[in-house]
Amino acid sequence: MTNARLLPLFATIAIFMLALVICFIQFPNMFSTRVLGNLLTDNAYLGIVAVGMTVVILAGGIDLSVGSVIAFSGVFIAVVLRDTGLHPMVVFAMLLAITTAFGAAMGGLVHALVMPGFIVTLAGMFLARGAAYMLSIDSVPIQHEFYDVLQSYILLPGRGRLTLIGITMLVVFVIGMLIVHKTRFGTAVYAFGGGEATARLMGVRQGRVTVMIYAFSGFMAGLSGIVFSIYTGSGYSLATVGTELTAIAAVVIGGTLLTGGAGYMFGTFIGVLTMGLIQVYIVFDGTLSSWWTKIVIGALVLAFILLQKALLHLARRGNEVAYA
């Protein structure tokens, strides 16, 4: 075992492979470019928001507001497009500015109040959902010719569709990996999750990093909202209820330690795909009901939390024996 930190990632990949094998044995025709293309398209919004969530969790925080922010984004885009003549790209820019500032404000509160992130973002969850309601309670369809462009796709051999939003998710994951593993901010994120006090001793500016972490998550939630509005072609304030939990689950199943400090962006990508695969499997099976998805995901989350706990325990015992 070269790096104990890698073990959960291996477990993640192993589970994904296992899921693939099971799917392949039962439904050999599942592996068409069509299904794979849809896997990317259907999970694009989840993947993007999970990138933000990974950063927050790696830093030892949590962001419960993202599901509501996605819904708010959809409604905001739909309402502004309906009521004004603004170009969607302008609306997107406005929206991303709003959600990023919203995230930054939550980060600022977390830092200033010395309160756990889940409480502050819980308030954010109410606020964003309430704001969405205030804009519109009904589902607002988006009818803008530019959306036809956004909903375009590349036809793959075998009638699969690689959609723009699917590509967006892949690009976001690549950017996420670069940020987490290749920037000073990313190193600070890991340092933060490893131990706030130590990170401060090493010169991390706590307030700035906290604000940046939640702002990043807010930005990704906004981007996810844009993708979701493209995916559904509408904005609905009751949409994506509980998406924050799904995103957290994807991060945990991706092998990231829920208490922070250890994990990989790539793991989250596999985690999102695994969850997508479970859903595809249930659809293909036809007899299984959709709620099994929730139960299986819950069981996987539990398994990963226990795995991480066991690893931590082993590492501590190893140390005690070694330096006794």
Binding site: L113, P116, L127, R129, I137, K294, G298, A299, L302, K309
Partner: protein, 344 residues
């Protein structure tokens, strides 16, 4: 005995009273009460009835938060218990066994959380997140994805019946809160829970069985969630695994913090939390009366949470504590000569 309790809940009572006065000033009909067929009806009674789920959850959540924990799964437990009760009634087990099954399911869920927190040693918020994720799936498994409706009049009575002129849910939250408060304060449980929440290590060194207490507290939270699940299900005469109890965990946490209980554990007051639940419901009622869409609730609740967090914050709390000690010492200084005079 009554006096310190009153002093503890005074801020919450005053807030509630002020809210009622405010709403009445704008909508005098708010205080309308009339006796129809032997039962009281009016906006106030309605608000008290609608408070039931959150008030019930707040009782359990108060204890969990007193131990420095949090229970995010209570909404999912509501769905599970509502589904089990509706299923059991539908399957012809009779009302008694159905209630028993639902309450047992709630306690079992609570025990599960408690074991993860106290024995496996997972942080409360992470441990209860598991059931929060999987719980609705389990509830859907029971209802098979449908909304399980039932016609049992006995079960429906729990949600919409009347007892001695008041709606049954009101009796339910009131008696649960009183009973729980009595159990906690007439036995040593309350103090031991507070001790564990304030300093688990020191309590354990003094011989307090912190593990068992923690498990018990989560089990109580599960039990309260089961009661809330019964009320919610009976009220609409059907179990909706998707929407029953949705976001109620957040309302329950909010009720507890409005009740002045610290999220960092320690001293708690069940009465204050329940009044917190009433405050939330009164705000809801006021917004409805004002003709705003109920959606404004969420924004107001969010603003409330932020205000309370600012007041409770340890970093800013320093200033408050300083103010308090400054005030106290001034008061003591004023009192000092008086207390010393009678001595000689």
């Amino acid at each position: 005995m009554i006096f310190p309790v009153l002093r503890r809940v005074a801020p919450q009572l005053i807030t509630l009273f002020a809210l009622i006065v405010l709403i009445t000033l704008i909508f005098p009909s708010f205080l309308n009460l009339s006796l129809v067929d032997g039962r009281l009806v009016g906006p106030l009674v309605d608000a008290a009835k609608r408070s039931a789920p959150v008030a019930l959850l707040a009782v359990g959540m108060t204890l969990v938060i007193a131990t420095k924990g949090i229970d995010l799964s209570v909404g999912a437990i509501i769905a599970i218990c509502g589904a089990s009760a509706a299923w059991a009634v539908g399957a012809g087990y009779g009302l008694g066994p159905a209630l028993l099954i639902a309450l047992s399911a709630g306690i079992a869920c609570g025990l599960w959380n408690g074991v993860l927190v106290a024995i496996v040693g997972i942080q409360p918020f992470v441990a209860t997140l598991i059931l929060m994720t999987a719980g609705r799936g389990i509830a859907q498994l029971i209802t098979e994805g449908r909304i399980l409706t039932f016609t049992d009049p006995g079960f429906a009575w729990i949600g919409s019946g009347t007892l001695l002129g008041l709606p049954v849910p009101v009796w339910l939250w009131f008696s649960t809160a009183v009973l729980m408060a009595l159990i906690l304060r007439r036995t040593a449980l309350g103090m031991l829970i507070e001790a564990v929440g304030i300093n688990r290590r020191a309590s354990a060194l003094s011989g307090v069985n912190a593990r068992v207490l923690l498990i018990a507290v989560y089990a109580v939270a599960g039990f309260c969630a089961a009661l809330a699940g019964l009320v919610v299900t009976a009220d609409i005469r059907g179990a909706d695994a998707n929407n029953a109890g949705l976001w109620l965990e957040l309302d329950a946490i909010l009720a507890v913090v409005i009740g002045g209980n610290s999220l960092l554990g320690g001293r708690f007051s069940i009465a204050a939390s329940v009044i917190g639940a009433l405050i939330i419901q009164t705000i809801n009622a006021g917004i409805l009366l004002a003709g705003f869409p109920p959606e404004y609730n969420l924004v107001i609740k969010a603003a409330l949470v932020v205000v309370i967090l600012v007041v409770q914050s340890p970093s800013l709390g320093g200033h408050f504590a300083f103010l308090r000690t400054a005030l106290l010492s001034r008061r003591e200084a004023r009192h000092a000569p008086q207390t010393e005079e009678p001595k000689p």
